[in-house]
């Protein structure tokens, strides 16, 4: 949070500097006795104005100062790059103009401007009157703050949903079983109870794995055979793939391709990506897993021809318990933690994970793992 309270003070000083600087050239109000004094005073004022402008330019927030007549006297560097795309810039500047006019009438104003982008951005425009000096408006970019707020709010809602739903179901099933005497119904309810218990167990397993990956400071680095790793991830998902008639293909991998990484963590990340690709593929679809060497490391590609991910969810899918379609998620049997595990593994290795996706056309996850130094044995 920048010191926003400083802005009106700086602005007033800067405007006064500009006005005084002008006054020194006036015919009626000499501020120095001799020409050299006047020059020195002018140069001092100019220096002060330059210093204040430099201070404003160094601020991350946009600052715009208007005189009493509404004319913009001062803009800092951030004010010119606050809107992103041309049309976003126009909308932010229009809001600034609107609120500056209000501030010149003596009102203190503030507005949150949400821009759909792309990229999506949120800025807050504040405007304050400066008395005789005019008015000042600031543009504060709160995109990251509002994203984090959304993540936090959704996380609480999602975790209670994911944990409460199976536990609630278990309680109801157990209560029904107590009074039930028909063996057929008892068997059906018992099966459902087992399924729900497995679901809770899976969530707890994934949570434990996630916290283990998060907490493990030191990686157990060894040379990992990339081909074998991919074959293992593919065969581990072959049963689920067979059930949905999805073909998992392993692409051409350069022979002898190795990467220095934590084998268990890498297997977990790749396994989760293949598992997701199979789950969200259409029946009879195809999943391709491949890898190639890239800038002192290895890049894995997991491509599916499935339902794809909506563009507005793309930057959120790596959050814990985040669900693109909550209604569908129970059917897939996932826990909502798979991609969080992938992100943590990648972060532990200093790599990167990205996704390209289009609804109805499928998704491609790109996992870059740089070679880690192998500890001397």
């Amino acid at each position: 949070m920048t010191a926003l309270w400083l802005v009106p003070a700086l602005a007033a000083a800067l405007v006064m500097g500009v006005l005084l600087g002008r006054r020194s050239h006036g015919d009626n109000a000499p501020i120095a006795d001799t020409d050299s004094d006047a020059e020195r005073a002018t140069s001092e004022l100019r220096e002060r104005a330059d210093r204040l402008q430099a201070a404003l330019d160094a601020m991350p927030n946009g600052v715009i100062i208007a005189g009493r007549d509404g004319r913009v006297l001062v803009r800092n560097a951030a004010a010119d790059e606050s809107g992103g795309d041309a049309h976003n810039e126009v909308l932010v500047q229009a809001a600034v103009q609107h609120h500056l006019r209000g501030a010149l009438r003596g009102e203190q104003r503030s507005q949150t401007v949400e821009l759909y982008g792309p990229p999506r951005r949120v800025v807050i425009v504040h405007a304050k009157p400066l008395g005789a000096a005019g008015a000042v408006a600031t543009i504060e970019d709160v995109t990251e703050r509002s994203r984090l707020d959304a993540v936090r709010t959704d996380f609480v809602a999602n975790i209670s949903h994911e944990l409460k739903t199976p536990i609630g179901a278990l309680a109801v099933l157990a209560e029904t079983l107590i009074d039930e005497s028909d063996p057929v119904v008892i068997s059906r309810l018992a099966n459902k109870t087992v399924n729900e218990a497995h679901r809770v167990a899976k969530i707890i397993d994934d949570l434990l794995e996630l916290s283990r990956i998060e907490l493990s400071g030191d990686l157990v680095v060894a040379s990992v055979d990339v081909g074998a790793l991919i074959n293992e991830a593919s065969s581990r998902n072959s049963y689920a793939a067979g059930q949905r008639n999805v073909t998992v293909c392993v692409g051409e991998i350069p022979s002898g391709l190795h990467v220095n990484a934590d084998q268990a963590q890498l297997a977990s990340a790749l396994g989760n990506l293949v598992d997701n690709a199979v789950k969200y593929s259409d029946v009879g679809g195809k999943v391709t897993v491949t890898a190639f060497p890239e800038s002192q490391g290895v890049t894995f590609l997991v491509t599916d021809s499935g339902i794809g991910i909506p563009s507005h969810d793309l930057d959120r899918i790596f959050e814990r318990f985040y669900r693109v379609d909550r209604a569908r998620s129970r059917g897939t049997g996932g826990t909502g933690l798979g991609l969080s595990i992938v992100r943590h593994v990648v972060s532990n290795h200093g790599g990167a994970v990205t996704v390209e996706s289009r609804e109805g056309e499928g998704s491609t996850f790109r996992l870059y793992i740089p070679d880690r130094p192998v500890p001397a044995s």
Partner: protein, 246 residues
């Protein structure tokens, strides 16, 4: 005195241009918003866009009046006249585009609660993105007086037209697979038309920008073609209206 008058005229013209750019930026911003409303069934968002259209209508009318005032009071000529005439035409294009964005939101209300196939959703996203790209190019060409960029908008629109055709095909497939009922299918076909029309309005804005910069208008091509049909006496052929009795 004369210089002051010209200065006031140019300030007034600059204000009109800025306000027009602001309206167009508002429409550009509303396109992805409307797409998201359609895909997520965001009824609150739909209401926001639909009620916001009154403001666009009012501001468009104000802007039109300012243009007419400039014409009446300042009697601009040559390039200045082209600016005002083009602005008058562009206001209508922007205002109509805002109506189409509203129509997408109204369609979102009508199909609320109906799940759409991922393939349909994917093409809707693409159409929204392309329509927005066309509008961004239109604004940029207007702000920068860039006739070359304005001329490219027409070709960019071909992709949006192709997407519309692809979408209609996907609607047929989804309907015949029993995933959407006929009412939803019809609404979606109309939505595709709305995106396609937004693209056409962006193309028209581009043509007006070319007119401002170069004096060129697409109608000139057709008119020149017609004039080339004149006979040796300079007489132009007249379209024969078929007799009802024939």
């Amino acid at each position: 005195m004369m210089n002051e008058l010209r200065k006031s005229f140019h300030n007034e013209l600059e204000d009109v241009r800025s306000e027009l750019v602001h309206l167009a930026a508002f429409v550009t911003e509303s396109i992805p918003r409307a797409t998201n409303i359609l895909l997520t069934g965001d009824l609150e968002g739909a209401d926001y866009i639909i009620s916001g259209d009154d403001e666009i209508d009012a501001r468009s009318l104000d802007l039109e009046e300012r243009c007419v005032q400039i014409l009446a009071l300042q009697a601009p000529v040559a390039g200045d006249l082209r600016q005002v005439i083009a602005a008058l035409k562009m206001i209508a294009e922007v205002e109509r585009s805002a109506d189409l964005v509203c129509n997408i939101c109204k369609a979102a209300r009508r199909i609320y609660g109906h799940a759409l196939d991922p393939s349909l959703r994917g093409i809707i996203t693409r159409m929204g993105e392309q329509a927005q790209q066309l509008y961004i190019a239109a604004i940029e060409s207007f702000v920068e007086n860039d006739a070359a960029k304005a001329a490219a908008i027409d070709d960019m629109d071909n992709y949006l037209d192709a997407l519309q055709k692809q979408f209609v095909q996907a609607i047929f497939e989804s309907h015949s697979a029993g995933h959407i009922d006929l009412q939803v299918a019809v609404q979606l076909a109309v939505v595709a038309r709305f995106y396609e029309r937004i693209g056409d309005h962006a193309v028209n804005i581009g043509e007006r920008v070319r007119f401002v910069v170069t004096g060129w208008l697409p109608e000139h091509k057709g008119a020149a073609r017609y004039r080339s049909r004149a006979d040796d006496t300079g007489e132009l052929p007249r379209q024969q209206i078929p007799d009802a009795g024939d």
